[in-house]
Amino acid sequence: MAKTQLSFNLNGQDVDVLVEPRELLIHVLREQLMQTGAHIGCETSHCGACTVDINGQSVKSCTFLAVQAQGAEVMTVEGLASGGELHPLQAAFMEEHGLQCGFCTPGMLMRGYRFLQENPNPSEDDIRQGMAGNLCRCTGYQNIIKSIQKAAADINAADNA
């Protein structure tokens, strides 16, 4: 199948790849660009394991054609830490035991990253609603909620410092 040139910015770096028009972004990220943080749990938009951030929005990359990312700013879990420092969300997931098998975690973190920008002071119920597109089979969600609350507090404290 004829391939298309695709250029976008991934975690702060410009990348160029050749893709088939039918290729899904998750496969291009994982198999061509070797960013295997985003995972595949369903390929039907239900589980959120493949969640990445595109132009400031949470996107399930398993149902997003790679060519739709032309010129976009794409961020994956690999881009979350900066300057050798974990993002407060990453640190909070570790602190509050917000993960077990870790398979949902990259998607949770990327959705949480965007969610906290949409709602910097969420209640427990806000988190339950705002994160509902991401499934976890291991944690029963409670410690993920705690992790997000802790991250929100840490981010707000740092902003006010």
């Binding site: 943080g37 394991a49 994956t76 974990l86 035991h97 098998c101 398979f103 499934l135 291991c138 029963g140």
Partner: protein
């Protein structure tokens, strides 16, 4: 600093048993650096896609591969005929049956594996699979297990016609797999005949699927030059997989390397050996290139490892006061088209005989009949020990049924029947020796924490107003940690587990285990055990699992066996090392080994606190200055064969409010008290309990694998199959008591499955309790809004 403070501080520094140490596996997962099977990419790797049957039961008239093979990028299309010359078109199951690897002349369940297309990448493989033309002649499907043994029932397994045995005892019908029973039937029948009251209920544990977030898959890589095979695989039991591969392929076990990389949840789904694995391995051997096969979610829900499908009948006999005199349980077990349940080989119904629960029942009898139907093969233990959920569900439902019949409070009837603390070790009527337990104080603790009496008052007031509120109790005992090798084996291999520890000269250590973590945090907790036993900081202890080339042989992680068996092996290995270290320390201190004693992280000459050698110092000496005649080095391996199972228990309470117009349920409160014996990492235990409760919630309130009368699966994506999201999932409250296991070296019992096993009946008991005043004694799961509404509507409570 006082001596006591000094001891405490040194203990804290170790981060050993009992502390909520942060997990060592987290840094890689939170940075996207986990290494799951689909992350494995080898040079020249090909991808496999499976062609599946659209019918539940059909003859295969022909398979035409031509179009698929003509597609550029397709390397092979493999069918049963290609596997036949190798004798690999069928494979043994863990249950002593055989299973078609690729359909051999007929298909016996919808989505059965018919062919695999191997191609350059997953897109071409999927295209190729579309191009394989299979002609079928449809046969009548058998869906209802109750009709499996009818005279005119369609025969599922033509290969077994005329055979009166399918690996688990005598068969009496073409669709019969086994009949298994235990207990004193005559004495039980007599007790029922003479009983003051009896109750009987038909109780279903419906077919469900564990659905870990990561599906199953493998990458097989055969090295033609050396005749060696490496398989990366999502397996909860890599060593057994290696043995099975050798038995199937004839490749020496020393040339087969199985690697379970990071695993995205297992829950029983990743114990068995599936057709996709076998075909990927054969493809790699034939094509000489690595071959990856990863299930889609739909493949996963449709084919690999359903759980339950136990159609039970519970009966209790009691006196007027609700004291149980006898128990009689039976179940019709639907195993699908092949008996591929994952249980210790000699246990056709797993550990179902734990069904007398937490109660002192003098006589009992249990029987399970297994049958074939045109459904996917199984069934596995979904976050439980083998068939323990089914057993616990029956007894915990039946005791509620008995309470309602006698109008005795549901907490009170449990008090009257509990095994008493002084009865342990307790010999159950069906043959188990419960190691330890203390049920009554735990029950009282929960009742008080939740103000049980207040809840019952509130319920009475609500009922008077026509509102629906239910209170569910579950006071369960589990049986985990399979198991003593005299009782348990898998394909003849005893169910021990193992740990190898090497202490390095500078006082760090590496331990390798026969188990394999799937989210339980083994890298964190095993190191804590070794830290406490050896007095080395847990941060200096590396834990490795899952690579059969380096790890000692073990039976893997399922049935909550890691702590009971692997954890015991770890403690025993560490103790062997400490015993040697003691001799070296005595040698260094120039006293006899009996004159030194252990103090957190060092040996000290008795009565002389200044004469000490730390474990670090001893480690160094182990490589240059040992007593005469002693071997150098500080390492050992332990294979632990447990003397008994462990018997964790729990007391759960659930409060549910039900909307009497829509049937929607709202879990107001869920309180879980668990007793898993001594606790290694409370943070991880709590996390396991949250997760297990959520999976219990899923099963009780929504999960169901259902079929129409032609055997078509009604919903096999996450659109239809219920996985609770953040929104539905209740808030969990956890609590604990500690009743150590007397036979486990650490007094630990295992915990991860209790919340699933105990949670399911607790949710059901709550929902059904909401209707108890209307005479409802049982309603089958799942308690979806629609199902609950049907009960409401039948009772006329919605107007």
């Amino acid at each position: 600093m006082s001596a006591a403070e000094d001891t405490l501080e040194r203990q804290d520094q170790l981060q050993g048993i009992g502390c909520s140490r942060k997990r060592k596996e987290d840094p890689r997962f939170i940075q996207g650096k986990g290494n799951y099977v689909d992350d494995v990419k080898l040079p020249g790797m090909l991808c496999g896609a499976i062609v599946r049957s659209p019918f539940a039961h059909a003859k295969i008239v022909s398979i035409n591969k031509e179009k698929a093979l003509a597609l550029p990028g397709v390397h092979a299309v493999i069918t049963a005929d290609d596997l036949k010359p190798l004798g690999l078109h069928w494979m043994p199951t863990l249950a002593g049956d055989t299973q078609a690897v690729l359909a051999d002349e007929k298909v016996a369940f919808q989505q059965q594996e018919v062919a695999m297309v191997v191609a350059d990448d997953r897109y071409i493989a999927a295209d190729g699979a579309e191009l394989v033309e299979v002609e079928y002649e449809v046969l009548p499907a058998l869906v209802d297990p109750h009709k499996a043994m009818d005279d005119d029932a369609p025969i599922i397994r033509d290969d077994l016609v005329g055979k009166d045995e399918a690996g688990q005892g005598k068969r009496t019908h073409n669709n019969h797999i086994f009949t298994w029973d235990v207990g004193d039937k005559d004495a039980t029948d007599r007790a029922f005949d003479n009983a003051e009251v009896t109750v009987r209920e038909e109780i279903l544990n419906p077919r469900v699927h564990p659905s870990p977030l990561e599906t199953c898959g493998c990458v097989a890589s055969f090295d033609k030059i050396n005749g060696a095979l490496t398989v990366y695989i999502t397996s909860q039991a890599p060593h057994i997989v290696r043995t099975v591969i050798t038995l199937l392929s004839g490749i020496a076990e020393s040339k087969v390397r199985v690697i379970s990389p990071d695993i995205g949840g297992g829950f029983g789904n990743k114990v068995g050996v599936y057709p996709g694995y076998v075909v990927a391995i054969v493809s790699s051997i034939v094509l000489g290139r690595p071959v990856k096969w990863i299930e889609s979610r739909i493949d996963n829900i449709s084919t690999t490892a359903f759980a339950r499908d136990y159609h039970g009948i519970g009966e209790l006999a009691a006196d007027k006061n609700g004291v149980i005199k006898a128990l009689r349980f039976s179940a019709l077990a639907d195993h699908g088209a092949f008996n591929a349940h994952a249980q210790p080989t000699k246990w056709p119904a797993g550990l179902f005989s734990i069904c007398t629960g937490s109660y002192d029942i003098p006589v009992a009898y249990a029987r399970v009949d297994g049958v074939y139907t045109n459904k996917a093969p199984g069934g596995v233990a979904y976050r439980c020990s083998f068939r323990v959920t089914e057993a616990v569900y029956l007894i915990e439902r039946m005791i509620d049924v008995l309470a309602q019949k006698l109008d005795i409070d549901k907490a009170e009837i449990r008090r009257r029947n509990f095994i008493k603390a002084e009865q342990f070790p307790y010999q159950s009527a069906l043959g188990w020796e419960y190691d330890s337990g203390n049920y009554l104080p735990a029950l009282e603790k929960v009742l008080e924490a939740c103000d049980y009496e207040g809840l019952r008052k509130e319920q009475a007031e609500k009922r008077a107003k026509g509102e629906l509120m239910g209170i569910g109790l579950c006071t369960f005992t589990e049986i985990v940690g399979a198991g003593p090798s005299k009782a348990c084996d898998v394909l003849g291999v005893g169910m021990f587990d193992s740990c190898e520890i090497r202490v390095h000269p500078t006082g760090s250590a590496i331990a390798r285990m026969g188990t394999i973590t799937q989210g339980q945090g083994h890298q964190t907790t095993y190191a804590q055990i070794i830290a406490s036993e050896l007095g080395l900081s847990s941060d200096d202890i590396q834990i490795e699992e899952g690579d059969t080339d380096t790890a000692p042989y073990g039976l893997g992680t399922y049935g909550s066996r890691s702590t009971p068996v692997g954890g015991a092996a770890t403690a025993m290995a560490a103790r062997t090392i400490r015993a040697k270290a003691q001799k070296i320390a005595a040698h260094l201190l120039e006293v006899s080994p009996d004159d030194v004693e252990w103090d957190v992280d060092r040996f000290q000459v008795k009565g002389n606190p200044d004469a000490v050698k730390t474990m670090k110092e001893v480690a160094w000496a182990a490589y240059n200055n040992v007593p005469e005649g002693m071997e150098m080095g500080l390492e050992t391996v332990n294979y632990y064969d447990p003397p008994n199972f462990t018997y964790p228990f729990g007391i759960y309470l659930c409060v549910v409010d039900i909307d009497r117009h829509t049937g929607e349920t709202s879990i107001r409160r869920f309180y879980a008290l668990d007793d898993c014996g001594n606790r290694i990492n409370p943070m991880i235990i709590e996390g396991q309990i949250h997760g297990g409760l959520n999976e219990a919630f899923a099963v009780a309130m929504g999960q169901l694998i259902s079929f129409d009368e032609d055997g078509n699966l009604q919903g096999n994506s996450l659109m239809d199959y219920f996985i609770p999201t953040f929104v539905e999932t209740p808030h969990w409250e956890t609590d604990y008591t500690v009743t150590p296991s007397p036979h486990h070296p650490l007094g630990a019992k295992g915990v991860a499955e209790s919340p699933h096993v105990g949670g399911i009946p607790c949710f059901s008991n709550a929902v059904i309790d909401a209707f108890a005043h209307k005479g409802v004694t049982h309603v089958n799961m799942p308690h979806t809004a629609f199902n609950v509404w049907k009960t409401i509507h039948q009772l006329g409570l919605d107007n």
